[in-house]
Symmetry: C2
Subunit: 214 residues, 2 copies
């Protein structure tokens, strides 16, 4: 609707900014400098701010599709006749997305109050993940003391590992994830994690704060 | 020996700088601003640079004891009559040290070519960790496809997780580690991580580069 009323060159600029932002965010993370995004698009800062008055507005434009795809993938994984396989493949899929995109790595585990569209989609992603967990627990294939908060922690640890290995050991996360997955099988449970879920909601908010994202 | 020849106030300054650096590094990480360390010690930058011409020289002065303690602890853990217990307790100990000190979290998994004393001590820590792994594998309590490089990856992922949870969910790492440990028990192995160790040596070098530590 908005796009329809934009003059042709404004629409072109908007697309160029989103394309440039996609690359910069993927390579440099959620806090990639906006100046560099404008420069890569061949446009001035003023044009960027006219189209996207906040970083969150730009993040929403860039990542809405990616989160939509996660929701679609989770439906495919929920339809897997083997609940463990569906759960496992979804986790590998999410961690793989994190490996391919530095911004997405932290976006999945951050609360961006300035981007309600993304929050809504991320809510859908989490809802699907919770269903995948329940389904695999009901079939007896996933340990029942795993809480959905634990998945957030797992994705946070994967994001941190990727930060440290992305260029020099780009497949390290995948091998590590296989060890972690083995720890989630019920018959393996022996360490018995303490009761109570980790306070991931607070940690998710803090992450956006730390990166000063508004 | 050097200290013996320092005038009393120079020795006092040196201690004040090390004390200040201990706090700043613990709170803010390996790349804590040197200016803030001098300020906390109540001294000027010139004094800091006179005592510690490089960041690595200061890191060596601050962390030599901590690495020495790790070596001592690993000997205690190697003497544990239950090899799995010794291995597990050592891993929990290392991850706990990372939780308590932001700089140590990354120091354990970085190559600091500018601090040969630390490199030598870190080499001893790794040597002990390898012995703990072998011992638990020989007793059949630890999966044999775990390589010592995998421990580095585990510590890197713990460092990254801590970065994201330290203030808001300070015990999240401990619960996550219990899941990971369960994945290291041999009977649990089913995911079969691919062959070949991750290229942690390169990743360890890259980390110091990323933080521009010399």
């Amino acid at each position: 609707m908005v796009t329809g009323t934009l003059r042709a060159d404004a629409a072109r600029n908007r697309s160029a900014l989103i394309r440039a932002a996609k690359t910069e965010f993927a390579d440099r993370g959620l806090d990639a400098p906006l100046d560099d995004i404008a420069r890569r698009a061949g446009l001035g800062n003023a044009t960027l701010y006219r189209h996207f008055p906040t970083r969150c507005a730009l993040l929403a434009a860039v990542f809405q599709d990616a989160l939509g795809e996660i929701v679609a993938e989770s439906e495919r994984h929920l339809a897997d006749p083997d609940p463990w396989n569906g759960f496992r493949e979804h986790l590998v899929f999410l961690c793989g997305l994190q490996a391919g995109n530095r911004a997405l790595a932290d976006l999945l585990v951050s609360t961006l109050t300035g981007a309600p569209e993304l929050e809504r989609l991320r809510g859908q992603c989490f809802h699907a993940a919770v269903q995948l967990v329940r389904r695999a627990q009901l079939s007896g294939q996933l340990r029942t003391d795993l809480r959905h908060e634990d998945l957030v922690v797992l994705l946070m640890s994967n994001a941190g590992l990727l930060e440290r290995t992305r260029t020099a050991a780009p497949t390290a996360w995948r091998r590590h994830l296989d060890f972690v997955l083995d720890g989630l099988v019920p018959t393996h449970a022996q360490a018995t994690p303490g009761p109570g879920a980790p306070a991931v909601r607070a940690a998710m908010g803090r992450l956006a704060e730390r990166l000063k994202i508004r």
